[in-house]
């Protein structure tokens, strides 16, 4: 993984000093609420429903065990002994004291971490594939490119106060696991006819109140030109993005208003002035960055581990966990493991200090001391020997992180909702928990197969409900909480937006509604067909009819 040098460390240390002074001036009344707000937001500090919330950056979701232990320690010392992993591969503390944040940042800086630009109207943490570097379907490891973007975007002087937040995702594999079509900029690694590697640039995607699938604005951008091109895109957005209405300020609105073609040509014109300038990446820099993401010291195996194959035959529970939570590795004899933070009955994405520390130990014991966070809010050990999987499974079970539900309906993507977030119109965690409890029968859950259930407590869509096969959106109706259900969304390749089924439901109806949707699915399913494929085949009507049918006596 990337290791700071003196320059990186100095920038982060100086940020701590700067933010400490900003906090001091705010508390001394030298900065007004209105002035401090954007400053603290650019450092990930929200004032939430119950307390401040601090969002810590986990660049492209990569962590060392040392860093994770520090995060656990901070949760213990400054918060209520737990933390929450977000859909942007970041980590949130829900109960820090505003006065303590400078000290928290100073502690983070000792392990090369920070909270820079995790919120506010600036370029946010770049997200990527949680299986970067180990995925069997990968064309190019996106991590060096994410780090290049991280450095470029950190305190970018021209883009510190954009019209709105700005999110970039990079995918280097055949299957998009970074949701590039619903980002402000999505970068997809591609190979051109000459066999050269470059980026397909997608702009203007996003969820929230106006969900839009992004448009391709450049079919092939040679890698060396990445930063000058990003500068051009951001400059066009910074100058022409709407600032009169925050709901219309995202780049997606600009791209749509201009049309993608005109937007692309504006960028092209701007880029002509920047192309080949000093921000053009050098081979030395690309090599340097790639040097941080080399393959670890793998043991050479000829094929699958014999014991591992046998263990799956011997234990149905283990086999089920392997089927759901173990991802195919490009290195023979290895596997990438997803630790599920979606134990039934627990808040999705939450982990206690003890669990965090225990996972750090697992990373040290089984995965070269490194781990990743997925945008589905789970943790990944990316380099585990197949021979160690059984032992790892038992240890993960002991800390509650071995629920075999990755990709299944109870692997809910869920924002913190009205229990924590001051933006939310409705709670989301209790709904997720109620649904998990209803579908607690693992055999049934596995039979249902892959279903993305995504839930947001408000239309800001932190829970990505628009791209869930089943999406749930909390809405406010005359001061009470209701839930709008949508169907047919998908993330990844060929991303589509879900369509609303109809009028919203009360909280207590939700498990029943999901059960009826499942009943329609099961009745219409051919063989092992996935939910989304059934939906595409039969359409909305059968689902709609069932969920709104009057109960007959």
């Amino acid at each position: 993984m990337y290791i700071y040098d003196d320059y990186d460390q100095r920038i982060v240390d100086q940020r701590v000093v700067q933010y400490r002074d900003q906090t001091r001036r705010f508390l001394a009344g030298e900065l007004s609420d209105e002035e401090f707000r954007p400053l603290r937001l650019q450092n990930g500090l929200y004032i939430q429903r119950h307390a401040p919330m601090l969002r810590v950056a986990i660049p492209y979701g990569h962590l060392s065990s040392l860093q994770l232990r520090k995060l656990a320690e901070i949760a213990r010392k400054y918060d209520k002994d737990y933390a929450h992993f977000t859909t942007r591969q970041n980590l949130q503390y829900n109960w820090p004291k505003l006065e303590d944040v400078p000290d928290i940042l100073a502690e983070l800086a000792t392990v090369q971490m920070h909270a820079i630009q995790t919120s506010g109207n600036c370029i946010r943490n770049t997200t990527s594939d949680q299986f970067a570097g180990v995925a069997h379907d990968e064309l190019l490891d996106p991590r060096p490119w994410c780090e290049i973007i991280r450095q470029w975007s950190t305190f970018h002087p021209e883009f510190a106060h954009l019209p709105r937040k700005f999110k970039i995702a990079v995918n280097g594999a055949a299957e998009d696991r970074a949701a590039i079509w619903v980002h402000d900029i999505g970068l997809n690694v591609v190979k051109n006819e000459a066999g050269e590697i470059g980026f397909k640039v997608i702009a203007g995607g996003g969820l929230g109140r106006t969900p839009i699938i992004g448009s391709v604005i450049c079919e092939f951008l040679p890698c060396a030109h990445l930063l000058t091109y990003l500068d051009a895109v951001l400059r066009v957005y910074n100058r022409y993005g709407r600032r009169d209405n925050k709901y219309k300020a995202r780049i997606k609105i600009l791209v749509k208003a201009m049309t993608p073609e005109v937007f692309a040509s504006k960028v092209e014109t701007e880029w002509a002035f920047l192309k080949d300038g000093p921000q053009t990446l050098t081979t030395a820099e690309i090599d340097r960055m790639q040097g941080f993401f080399t393959v670890p010291d793998y043991t050479a195996f000829a094929g699958d581990d014999v014991g591992f194959v046998q263990q799956q035959l011997d234990s149905k529970a283990f086999a089920r966990w392997v089927e759901r939570n173990v991802f195919k590795h490009k290195q023979a004899g290895y596997a990438a493991v997803t630790l599920s933070l979606k134990k039934h009955g627990a808040a999705p994405g939450d982990a206690s200090s003890d669990q965090l520390a225990a996972v750090a130990d697992l990373a040290d014991a089984y995965s070269f001391g490194e781990l990743r966070v997925s945008h589905e809010q789970n943790l990944i050990l990316a380099d585990v020997k197949q021979a160690d999987l059984f032992e790892l499974w038992e240890k993960a079970k002991a800390i509650g992180f071995a629920t075999p539900n990755i990709g299944l309906m109870t692997d809910v993507i869920c924002c913190p909702g009205g229990d924590f977030c001051s933006l939310a119109n409705a709670k989301s965690i209790p709904i997720a928990i109620a649904i998990q409890e209803r579908f607690d029968d693992l055999d049934y859950l596995h039979d249902l197969g892959e279903i993305d259930l995504n839930m947001s407590g408000c239309m800001n869509a932190c829970g990505h409900h628009h791209v869930g096969n089943i999406g749930i959106l909390g809405v406010d109706k005359n001061g009470s909480e209701w839930y709008q259900v949508s169907l047919g969304g998908r993330q990844g390749n060929g991303a589509t937006l879900a369509k609303v089924v109809g009028p919203s439901f009360a909280q207590e109806q939700m498990p029943d509604v999901i059960e009826k949707i499942m009943a329609v699915f099961v009745e219409n399913r051919l063989g092992e067909e996935r939910f989304i494929d059934v939906f595409d085949r039969i359409g909305m009507l059968p689902f709609k009819t069932r969920v709104y049918a009057k109960e007959t006596a």
Partner: protein
């Protein structure tokens, strides 16, 4: 006399910033003294201003530096208004004036300018700052030194860190 930050020092400044009246009219220029006129007025009155001398031009956040274009190189002072510090359009204007249109004179930021923005402004080519009147000027000056290093190119450092790392 108003005090501003210029070239990292606090200096006196008696420039008069002139605006259009609410009815869209523009008052007579004072006979002498430094005046800073709106971009539109400069474009309309270029010859008269040039013969008068001792003037600068100011741009609003939504003004297009392109409309000044090559003229920028001949001006001694350009000011850019920041209606709110969270309005970052002026950052791009600064860079375009400096890096594309060859402006070498005094580039002055005014409006909602204070300690927490002037570091970014400096990196976008501004060398003079009219700090918001409710803020401490000495304190703001310190904001120029919050960071001793930056990753990206800027007007103050045209080479990105990756070209400077040993």
């Amino acid at each position: 006399m108003a005090r501003i930050i210029k070239d990292a020092a606090i200096v006196e400044c008696d420039a008069q910033l002139l605006r259009f009246s609410d009815d869209g009219s523009f008052a007579e220029l004072p006979a002498n003294g430094l005046v800073i006129v709106p971009l539109a007025q400069y474009l309309a009155q270029k010859a008269a201003l040039t013969s008068r001398g001792d003037f600068g031009v100011w741009l609003a956040a939504d003004d297009e530096p392109e409309s000044l274009g090559a003229d920028a190189a001949s001006l001694a002072l350009i000011a850019v208004e920041f209606p709110a510090f969270t309005d970052g359009r002026g950052f791009s204007i600064g860079r375009l004036l400096r890096e594309r249109f060859g402006f070498e004179g005094e580039l002055r930021a005014f409006g909602d300018v204070f300690k927490d923005t002037i570091g970014y402004l400096k990196r976008c080519g501004f060398n003079a700052f009219v700090v918001n009147s409710d803020k401490n000027l000495e304190d703001a000056l310190l904001g120029l030194n919050d960071f001793s290093e930056a990753y990206q190119t800027g007007f103050d450092q045209p080479l990105p860190l990756f070209r400077r790392r040993p």
